[in-house]
Amino acid sequence: MTPVLELRGIDKSFGPVQVLHDVALSVHAGEVTALVGDNGAGKSTLVKCVGGIHPIDSGEYLFEGKPVQVHSPREAAALGIEIVYQDLALCDNLDIVQNMFLGREHKRGIVLDEDTMEEMAAKTLEGLSVRTVKSIRQHVSSLSGGQRQTVAIAKAVLWNSKVVILDEPTAALGVAQTAQVLELVRRLADQGLAVVLISHNMNDVFAVSDRIAALYLGRMAAQVKTSDVTHAQVVELITSGRSGDLGLTNGVPA
């Protein structure tokens, strides 16, 4: 099966500093791909390259098997790639529906079509089996951290997106809320979306992911099936770039 999103040989430098070296990554529909790596390994840069915020220096960017050029977040969104950043980018003074449609409001003439937006938002939340919010007309400021994360994710999947990238969605959450969000992440993949989960938390990674991609100092150390590796192996990949037969030899792919 062709991966929905495939990167090959991605290089990216900021001035004299090369952040990504020859990175390859494939993301499959219906799967959760965990992107792991220590601080500064290049996870965020890679995601921003995918999202069109940073242009790539060289390498191939394939979407559904076809090479594409992504120069702006809008172009990424047009392909069906949505990124939920850590700070969520929600407006506290707007309600859930208003946030979900921000910048892409449905209108009839110049008038906002509130009813249609409310229906679509309700349907999307229902499709994600979200039952924790009391009213979709409540202000986002009144939501808990997990609920906000849910709204941000629902906003990303509202647009028939194919790839959803989540940047540390559980970093600021408590135990129960983390479980809720992970359940939601799993459900997205089960509905056929390709999900990329950036996380530092090995428990989360092993709880939901199908594949693990480990970055080490800007290089892809290994991309493996979650069922084929152990906790300790992944930690080793993150901290030293190799683990037994897996990973980099002398800092470069074998």
Partner: protein
Amino acid sequence: MTTTIESKPESPSIASNVRGYAERVRGGDMGALPAVLGLIVLCTVFSILRPSFLTSGNFANLFTQGAAITVIAMGLVFVLLLGEIDLSAGFASGVCAAVLAILLTDQGQPWYVAVAAAILTGVAIGTALGTLVAKLGIPSFVVTLAGFLGFQGLVLLLVKGGTNISIRDETILAIANKNLPPVWGWALLIAGVVGYAAVQLLRARKRTARGLAADPISLIALRVGALAVLGGLAVYFLNLERSRNAAVVSLKGVPIVVPIIVVLLLVLTFVLRRTGYGRHLYAVGGNAEAARRAGINVDRMKITAFVLCSVLASVGGIIAASRGASVDPNTGGSNVLLYAVGAAVIGGTSLFGGKGRVLDAVLGGAVVAVIENGMGLMGYSSGVKYIVTGSVLLLAASVDALSRRRAAATGLG
């Protein structure tokens, strides 16, 4: 609009609406409550202390007194929503009024040319201020403080150093000095109430038809009834004869500024609540970064907000010129700006951005006008009036800041 709607379409009753409102107030979202309570207290106190406060003549006076400030405050709401401020709005209105007066009196142009020129002056001022704030990134406080000084000088130059230009054009004078025929007052009120009821009922029916939670009929009836009663009382009082010598000249009817303010209120409220532009204004005020990532052109929102603010300031200037029948270097000066900012904040618009309505400007403008008028009747000097208005502004800003803290604590917004 802000009534609580359950995600499953179980229709909210009046009781649940009241509960939702009480919850929001406790959570720190006071909305218009302080302004309305303040208005009731002030009116009661002044009516008891000075019976002349309650005459229909004085009632009509209140509207013309507060009109210019209210309109300028409406414009400020747009800028405040973004978390910015426009300190130059007062003198911007003065500059526009001076342009109007020069064209009318010195150049002998017809009124519509003069009004168009005054409004275009507002557009130019707003574009300049907004561009400096958005593109150069100068804090709006500084840009408009410079504007405050600069426009003050410009008014002085325009009216040639301190003389005043009197206005004799009948149409312009009518705005703040003439009244609608009594029948017209009633006709407009009825049209307004029927229109309001129709809009509310149609929306409720459409939402019910689509299986969405709608306001119950009883709540709509309550709102329409309240509007009819309050509007009816106002029109009734304004239609009473208020001339001291009715045989010589009759003075009755709704002042012409009132429908002007009502139309501005309706149009601007529509823009804020029902169009994408209004939604984006709130978004930029709530979280500019989120708005930017959602593809909203934040710079353009800032510039247009300043343009709207200055255009409304020019309308305020025209009303002030009409009321004074002249323009002098002090038009739009002294306390006009602070009263206008005060009106917006007293009405419930937040100085921190993201929260506010055009109605706030009207309610706050009424509070300011009542203080000014009532204190005047009590015979207090300007000094005392300034101190009291300043204190009320400070009180309103404290309510704003405290309710923000409270909202942050309870997670309501």
